[in-house]
C-alpha cells in the first residue's frame, strides 16, 4: 500500500529538516522518495508532521507494573474507558493496563518505547506483557547492575567474561541493552541496607558502584552494543546527590565509545532525581545548573529528565531502598519485590503536589535540566513514567517547555510552591523550545542514543512511523496557546506505524500487535559457552529455577526484531 | 504409589480421660482446610472412590473430645451447623491437641456445613463455624451420592432447591437492542 502525506510542515531533525512544507511518502511500511499515482493521498496541509515518538525510558511492562496494578485498584478505576470500536476497555491512570498503554501511546503519536527495567528471572513476564500491549515496538533493558555474576566479575575486573556473560544473557532473556540501577545498592537492600556514593561497597561482595559501573561500561563498549550503559546512579532522591551524579558521569569519561551511531558512553536516566543539592529536605535545593554544565561540556553523556508532573502517581523502581524511604516519608502502602541474585524493586503511591515545597522544587529542577542543557540531542523527554508522572502527561511537559508564559504563570499564581523561586533558577530562565527541539528530544535524539537507525527520522528507507498533529506550526504561538499544544500533542491527527494508520483524529482506529527489539551479539559464542560452563554450578545452587526453564522461549517473543551486532565491531 | 485406603492417624485406643464426662453431643468449633491425603486424592482424581470419603469426609478430633463423645477412630458421627448437617467419620487428629475444635478437610462433606457468608470479602467462612457433633450409626455417603442428595440436580420431582428465583430477564428479545 502506498501513501502520500501532502503538504505537512515536517520536522525531521536527523535529516536537518526544520519545518519545511513537504510531502512524506511511504510504501509497504517504509519511507520512500517516490510513489505511483495510485498512492492514497492524505491531506495534512500546514499541519505538524514528525517522526513517531521514541520514548527512551518508561516502565510499561513487567512484574513490578503488575504488582502496581494488582495492589492499586483505586488507580485502575481512575482511568476506566469502556470498550469502543476496535479498542478494548482501558483501565488505570498512572499504571494503565497493557491495552490502555498501547492505545495511549498511539494517541500521543508514539511508536517505540524502551521498557527500562526487566529483571532477567522474570523476563518471560515482561515479554508476555509486551505481547499484550498493542501498537508499539518495545525494547526491554535487562537489569545487570546488582546481578551477582556481574558483581563478581566487576570485583575481579574480568571484563572478558563479563562481556560474554552479558552477550549470552541478552540472548537468553531477549534484552536490548544494559540497565544499571543503584549499583550495589540493590544488593545491599537484600539486607535492608543501601550504599551511599560510588565507593561504599556492597556487603559481603566487597565491590563498589565505581567498579561495577566501570566494568559494565567497558563490557558494553567491548561488545559494541547499540545502546550505552543505561545508568540510574546511586543516591536517587537524596539531597546532595548531585556529586554522586557528577562522579558517575566522570567515571566513564575515559572509556571510548564503540558505535557509529550514538555519541554517548553513558545514558543518565531521570537526571532530575539526581540533581539535588543541600544536606536534608529543609535546605534541599536545585543543583541542575551544575549537572547541566557538566553535560554541556561532555558529549559522552546523554540524559533523560524524569519530569515531575504534579499528579497522584505510582513510583516504581528497581531501587528498593529508596522506595522504602519513600514509604517511611508518606506512609502509603509499600510494595517491594526482591528478585533472587539479580535485583530489588519497590513501589509506593505518591502524590506530587504543587503545594508542597519539595515537590515543587523537584518540578522546577526537571524543567531547569531541559532548559539549561544546550544541546537537545543530549536531553530527552521522559517523566520516568510512572515515577514522576504518567506518560500521558508528555504533552503537558511539552507545553511547559514551549511556553515561558505558562511557567511564569504557574510560579506567580502559586500553582507551585514559592520555594521554586528561592531554591531553583527556573524563574530566571526564559528559553522556549521550538518544534524542532521538541522533535529532537522526543524522537530523533532518543533514537540516536539507542542506535535505532530505522526510526526516529523520516529519511528514505526508515520505517514509516509518523505522527501528524492538528497544529499549524507557522500560525500558532505556543508560548500563548500552550493549552492547544497540550491538547493536540495528546491527540494526534494521525499516528502511522509501519505504514499503517493506527490513530485518526485522536481515536485509535487500528490495533496491531507489538514487536520486541532485542540485541543479538554474534561472534563470541565460544567464550560464552565457556563462561556459562563456569557459572553453571553457582546457577544451579543458588537459583530456584532450572536453567532450562530460565530462558525466554521463542514462544514469548513471537515478533522479534533482532539487532544483530558483531561483538567488538561496531555495526554500520 | 500414592493410593491409600484411608489416611494414617495416630492409633489411640479409646483412653480413659478422668476429667471427661461422657456426653452425647458436643459443641465445638469447626475448621476446614486441606491436608496431604485429601490433596493427593482429590488432585489425582479419585473422588468417586472410597478413599476420598475417608480423606475428605473425616472429622479430625482431639482425643479428649473423642473420649467425651465415646468414639474411636473411624466411627461415624453427625456434624450439624446452622447451614446443614452431614455424616462423617471421626479420627484422631494428627495436629492434636486442639480441644474444642474439629477439623474436616475441604470437600463435598465439609461444604454442606460451612457458611457461605463472605462479609463482602469474597471468601466464605470456612473456618471458625460453631458446630455440634454427635455419634451416628449412619454411613457417610460416597461423593456422588452425597452430591445427588444435597443438590438434587437431576431430581425432577424437586422443583427448586430453595432459591428466590422470580424472573430471569429474557435475553432473546433482540428487539430491545437497536
Amino acid at each position: 500500500m502506498e501513501y502520500i502525506l501532502k503538504n505537512g510542515i515536517v520536522y525531521d531533525p536527523t535529516n536537518n529538516v526544520d519545518g519545511e512544507k513537504k510531502d512524506v511518502m511511504f510504501k509497504d511500511g517504509k519511507i520512500v522518495d517516490t510513489v505511483s499515482p495510485d498512492a492514497k493521498e492524505i491531506d495534512v496541509t500546514d499541519k505538524l508532521v514528525m517522526p513517531a515518538g521514541v520514548d527512551p525510558h518508561s516502565h510499561i511492562a513487567g512484574p513490578k507494573l503488575v504488582v502496581g496494578r494488582l495492589y492499586r485498584p483505586e488507580d485502575s478505576r481512575r482511568g476506566i474507558v469502556p470498550k469502543k470500536g476496535v479498542t478494548r476497555a482501558e483501565t488505570g491512570f498512572s499504571i494503565p493496563s497493557c491495552p490502555a498503554t498501547g492505545y495511549r501511546y498511539s494517541r500521543m503519536g508514539y511508536g517505540t518505547v524502551v521498557e527500562a527495567a526487566m529483571p532477567p528471572l522474570e523476563a518471560k513476564h515482561t515479554h508476555e506483557e509486551i505481547n499484550i500491549i498493542p501498537n508499539l515496538d518495545i525494547a526491554p533493558l535487562p537489569l545487570f547492575g546488582n546481578n551477582w555474576f556481574t558483581l563478581e566479575y566487576a570485583k575481579e575486573g574480568n571484563i572478558d567474561d563479563l562481556s560474554a556473560f552479558i552477550s549470552y544473557w541478552l540472548r537468553l532473556v531477549k534484552g536490548y541493552g544494559i540497565k544499571i540501577v543503584n549499583p550495589c545498592g540493590g544488593e545491599a537492600w537484600g539486607w535492608g541496607m543501601n550504599v551511599h556514593g560510588l565507593d561504599d561497597p556492597a556487603p559481603y561482595f566487597d565491590v563498589t558502584a565505581r567498579e561495577v559501573i566501570t566494568a559494565l561500561a567497558k563490557a558494553n563498549e567491548k561488545l559494541a552494543l547499540p545502546h550505552s550503559i543505561h545508568l540510574h546512579p546511586n543516591d536517587l532522591g537524596h539531597p546532595g546527590n548531585y556529586e554522586t551524579t557528577l562522579d558517575s558521569m566522570k567515571l566513564v569519561k575515559g572509556i571510548s565509545k564503540n558505535s557509529p551511531v550514538r555519541n554517548q558512553t553513558v545514558h543518565m536516566t531521570h537526571i532530575q532525581y539526581h540533581s539535588y543539592a543541600g544536606t536534608n529536605w529543609r535546605d534541599f535545593k536545585s543543583a541542575a545548573p551544575d549537572v547541566a554544565k557538566f553535560v554541556n561540556n561532555n558529549d559522552h553523556v546523554t540524559c533523560d529528565v524524569g519530569q515531575i508532573t504534579l499528579d497522584e502517581t505510582t513510583t516504581m523502581t528497581a531501587d528498593g531502598p529508596m522506595e522504602f524511604d519513600l514509604h517511611q516519608l508518606n506512609g502509603l502502602k509499600w510494595a517491594n519485590k526482591d528478585i533472587e541474585l539479580e535485583t530489588a524493586s519497590g513501589i509506593v503511591p505518591f502524590i506530587y503536589s504543587g503545594r508542597n515545597s519539595v515537590h515543587s522544587v523537584q518540578w522546577a529542577i526537571g524543567l531547569e535540566m531541559f532548559l539549561l542543557v544546550n544541546n537537545p540531542w543530549q536531553i530527552f523527554l521522559t517523566t520516568d513514567s510512572p515515577n514522576a508522572g504518567p506518560f500521558i502527561r508528555y504533552p503537558r511537559v511539552i507545553s511547559w517547555l514551549m511556553s515561558n508564559k505558562r511557567r511564569t504563570e504557574m510560579i506567580e499564581n502559586r500553582e507551585v510552591h514559592k520555594a521554586v523561586e528561592k531554591k531553583s533558577t527556573l524563574a530566571t530562565i526564559d528559553r522556549e523550545y521550538d518544534f524542532n527541539e521538541i522533535a529532537t528530544i522526543s524522537r530523533a535524539a532518543p533514537a540516536k542514543a539507542y542506535s535505532f537507525t530505522d526510526r526516529g527520522h523520516l529519511g528514505i528507507g526508515a520505517n514509516a512511523d509518523i505522527a501528524v498533529y492538528n497544529i499549524k506550526p507557522n500560525e500558532i504561538d505556543p508560548s500563548i496557546e500552550y493549552e492547544v499544544i497540550e491538547k493536540e500533542f495528546g491527540n494526534a491527527a494521525y499516528t502511522i506505524k509501519d505504514g499503517r494508520i493506527l490513530v485518526k483524529d485522536g481515536e485509535v482506529v487500528k490495533v496491531v500487535p507489538s514487536r520486541t527489539l532485542w540485541t543479538n551479539v554474534n561472534g563470541i559464542e565460544a567464550e560464552e559457552e565457556a563462561v556459562i560452563k563456569k557459572i553453571m554450578p553457582s546457577f544451579n545452587k543458588y537459583y530456584t529455577i532450572k536453567f532450562e526453564n530460565y530462558k525466554v522461549h521463542d514462544h514469548f517473543v513471537p515478533r522479534p526484531m533482532a539487532v544483530n551486532v558483531q561483538a567488538g565491531k561496531a555495526a554500520k | 504409589m500414592t493410593y491409600v485406603d484411608r489416611p494414617s492417624v495416630p492409633n489411640v485406643v479409646k483412653f480413659d480421660e478422668p476429667t471427661a464426662k461422657k456426653r452425647n453431643k458436643l459443641s465445638l468449633m469447626l475448621n476446614t482446610g486441606s491436608d496431604i491425603y485429601q490433596g493427593a486424592c482429590k488432585k489425582r482424581g479419585s473422588t468417586l472412590k472410597d478413599e476420598y470419603r475417608h480423606a475428605s469426609g473425616t472429622a479430625y478430633m482431639d482425643p479428649k473430645d473423642m473420649a467425651k463423645l465415646g468414639v474411636k477412630n473411624w466411627d461415624k458421627a453427625l456434624v450439624k451447623t446452622d447451614w446443614g448437617e452431614v455424616v462423617v467419620y471421626v479420627a484422631h487428629s494428627r495436629d492434636a491437641p486442639h480441644e474444642g475444635q474439629i477439623f474436616i478437610c475441604k470437600g463435598p462433606w465439609a461444604n454442606v456445613i460451612v457458611s457461605p457468608e463472605t462479609y463482602c470479602c469474597c471468601d466464605p467462612t470456612y473456618k471458625g463455624v460453631p458446630a455440634t457433633i454427635e455419634k451416628s450409626d449412619e454411613e457417610p455417603l460416597l461423593m456422588a451420592d452425597l452430591m445427588a442428595e444435597v443438590y438434587k440436580k437431576y431430581n425432577e420431582n424437586e422443583t427448586s432447591t430453595g432459591n428466590r428465583l422470580v424472573k430471569i430477564p429474557n435475553n432473546n428479545a433482540s428487539n430491545y437492542r437497536s
Binding site: Y71, R77 | C120, V166
Partner: protein
C-alpha cells in the same frame, strides 16, 4: 418540585442498577423518557417499564428540586442514589448494595435495611437507613486510603463489619450494635455507636474519634493512655456522662481517640 414515583411491577432476580436514575440525570425527564429508558441488568439493558411503573408530577429546574420515591421490594436494586449531588430519594423497602455510594449531596432515606457498601466514599449529603446495614458502610473503595470524606450516615439499626473503613471525614451514627473492626484505618471523622460492639474497634486508626455508648467485648492492645473524662466534647459534639478515653492505635502510631462509656464497661477500668 418534581416528584418521581417508581412503583414496582416485577422483581428481577439479577440486580437492576439504578446509578443512572439519580436526580442529577433525570431532573428534566418526562414520563415518556422513563418509558423509553432501559435499565442495566447483568450484561444487557432491559426496558425499565417491565419492572417499574413511573409517575412524574411537577417539574424541576435543577436536581435539587427532585424527589424520587421508590416503592416495592428493592432487595435486588443496586446503586440507588449512587453519585447523586442533590435532591432527595426515599426508598420504601430494603435496598441492595451501594446505596448512596459516592454521593456528594442531597438526601437518601431508606425505610428498610441496606446491604453492604451503603454510603461508600460519600463526600457530602445525608444517608438515613431506618433498618440495619451490613459490611463496609461508609467505607473506601478497595485499595484506596481515602474513604468517606464528608456527609452524614444515620443508621437506626445495626451495622456490620468494618463500619467506616478508612474514614477520612464525615460522621456515622449507629443506634444499634456494631460488628468487628469499626473505624478500621480511619484517619479523620467521627463514629458514634449507641449499641454494643463486639471486637476491636479502631484497628490501626490514625486519627478521628469513635464513641461507644454500649458495651465493648474486646479492645486491642494498641490503645493506651486511658483516662476517665466527664462530659467530654468530641469533634464539636457534647457528650454526657463518664467515658474512658483511649488514644491509639499505637500499633500504627495513631493519634485517634476512642471513648468508651464508663458505666457499661466497668471491666475496662
Amino acid at each position: 418540585m418534581k416528584i418521581v414515583t417508581f412503583n414496582q411491577k416485577e422483581i428481577s432476580q439479577i440486580g437492576l442498577e439504578f446509578d443512572e436514575l439519580i436526580p442529577d440525570k433525570i431532573y428534566q425527564w418526562e414520563k415518556k423518557d422513563f418509558e423509553k429508558y432501559e435499565v442495566p441488568i447483568g450484561n444487557s439493558r432491559f426496558p425499565l417499564r417491565d419492572y417499574f411503573d413511573v409517575d412524574v408530577e411537577g417539574s424541576a429546574e435543577s436536581p435539587a428540586d427532585v424527589k424520587i420515591i421508590i416503592n416495592g421490594d428493592l432487595t435486588r436494586v443496586k446503586y440507588i442514589g449512587s453519585a447523586m449531588s442533590a435532591g432527595e430519594i426515599v426508598a420504601n423497602s430494603s435496598v441492595d448494595l451501594h446505596c448512596g455510594s459516592e454521593m456528594s449531596g442531597g438526601e437518601i432515606i431508606v425505610n428498610g435495611d441496606a446491604e453492604s457498601y451503603a454510603g461508600r466514599e460519600m463526600t457530602g449529603g445525608l444517608l438515613t437507613i431506618k433498618g440495619n446495614t451490613r459490611e463496609f458502610c461508609g467505607a473506601s473503595y478497595i485499595g484506596d486510603w481515602r474513604g468517606m470524606t464528608g456527609g452524614t450516615i444515620m443508621i437506626h439499626g445495626n451495622a456490620g463489619k468494618q463500619l467506616g473503613e478508612c474514614l477520612t471525614g464525615g460522621e456515622i451514627y449507629v443506634r444499634g450494635d456494631c460488628d468487628i473492626l469499626a473505624g478500621i484505618h480511619m484517619t479523620k471523622g467521627y463514629i458514634q455507636i449507641d449499641g454494643d460492639v463486639t471486637r476491636w474497634p479502631g484497628g490501626q486508626m490514625q486519627g478521628g474519634s469513635i464513641v461507644i455508648n454500649g458495651k465493648l467485648s474486646r479492645l486491642l492492645e494498641g490503645f493506651i493512655d486511658s483516662e476517665i473524662v466527664k462530659n467530654p466534647e468530641v469533634s464539636g459534639k457534647q457528650l454526657a456522662g463518664k467515658y474512658i478515653k483511649y488514644t491509639g492505635d499505637i500499633a500504627r502510631n495513631g493519634k485517634g481517640n476512642l471513648y468508651l462509656d464508663a458505666e457499661k464497661n466497668r471491666n475496662f477500668l
